[in-house]
Amino acid sequence: MQIPEQNHSVKIISKLINELSKLPGIGPKSAQRLAYHFIKLPKSEVLELSNSLIELKEKIIYCDICQNLSDENPCSICTNYQRDQKLICVIEEPLDILAFERTGSYNGLYHVLHGVLSPINGIGPNNLKINELLNRIKVNDIEEIILATNPSIEGESTAMYIQDIIVDIVPKVTRLARGLPVGGDIEYADQMTIMRALQGRQEI
């Protein structure tokens, strides 16, 4: 949304507010608040922020192997040979890697699809990094692929699609368990969640 220039006497401030307003979740009021905050900040801090942004755009690249965002190619995960090189976890977005790494319980590699199949939004297999996954499987000796897409209808269809094309070339294709989340309430859970939880029940 373009902020009318007459609302701010200084064109530079108007321009900054307009640019900040383009960011997701930042409306005109938030943009205005941020802009005036920047004015009060020491110049060094503002320069630090602007340099970080420039560095982000100049140095962040996609890892050729796993398609994750990284500042080196291949990324630090793919070049860490202490990790299980025969295990790949297929995920939707780079942020999902952070969630897995926080657990400290996964020691394999990743592959980022950068989205999910969503015909209703015009996203097909060619829009995702599925071919790169196939090439990776053909070249390396992969024993297991974990399909860790979200348990939504798009995530499920993406998992099914990938499973169909790799089932004959990978010994083991698995899907993350689905069901009740820790701290969740059975009373409020939907039928699908409870059904999945029942299907995935384990002996204790």
Partner: protein, 246 residues
Amino acid sequence: MVNRERSYKTEAIILNSKSFGESGHIYIVFTPYLGKLSINANGTKKPKSKLSGHLQITNRCNLVISKGRSIDTISSAETTELFLNIRENYNLINNVFYIMELFDVFNPINEINVDAYQLLLESLRWLNNNQNINLLIIYIRLKILTTSGWDLNFSTCNLCFDEKKGNLTAINTNHGGSICNICKPSTTNSVSTEPQSIKLLHFISIASREKLLSSNLEITLIKKCLAISEYLIHDNLGFKLKTKLF
């Protein structure tokens, strides 16, 4: 006294969802008595969300919606009908995305269309049974044109009203359906086809779901009607749908 109800209840089928904000979604839902709605739901990306499981695409659910200034917000949801077979079959998922997009584009926001809602519900139940999907798609395409006020006639020539089925050899959307071989040269943009295809289109447009499923229809003829019905939809909309029908 002015009615200042702050919330309302409705039955709905989830057509589509889009990410919104940090942890929420905007849901496009189709209701029988309020039409198509675009409503917000907060926190649906979180694992412990009480709403997200109920608000999956194709779910039929009861919603309680709070009125907002610019957009209404779902405060509670409960699934009433789950089409499980669709979710577990890749082919059916692709078809359901197509059907959802069809209903999304043919129904403007807030325009009440009870017939269209019933058609959507019927279609989901049919698809869930995984029977003769091509026939279902043709059925939906013809019915959705009818519920949108665009009733095509395949029983007679729409120019001279000749009832001889053997003479009907073309379809022209500008003239409301089938055209005979005598009238065809005087029309523009007519699509030629066989009389049997037009006969089948007529049958599909008037028959019930049960009658269609119990009929033994030729597969090649169904495929031809599939192509014709796709043309009818494309011609009506003026653009191609994003979903690709597998």
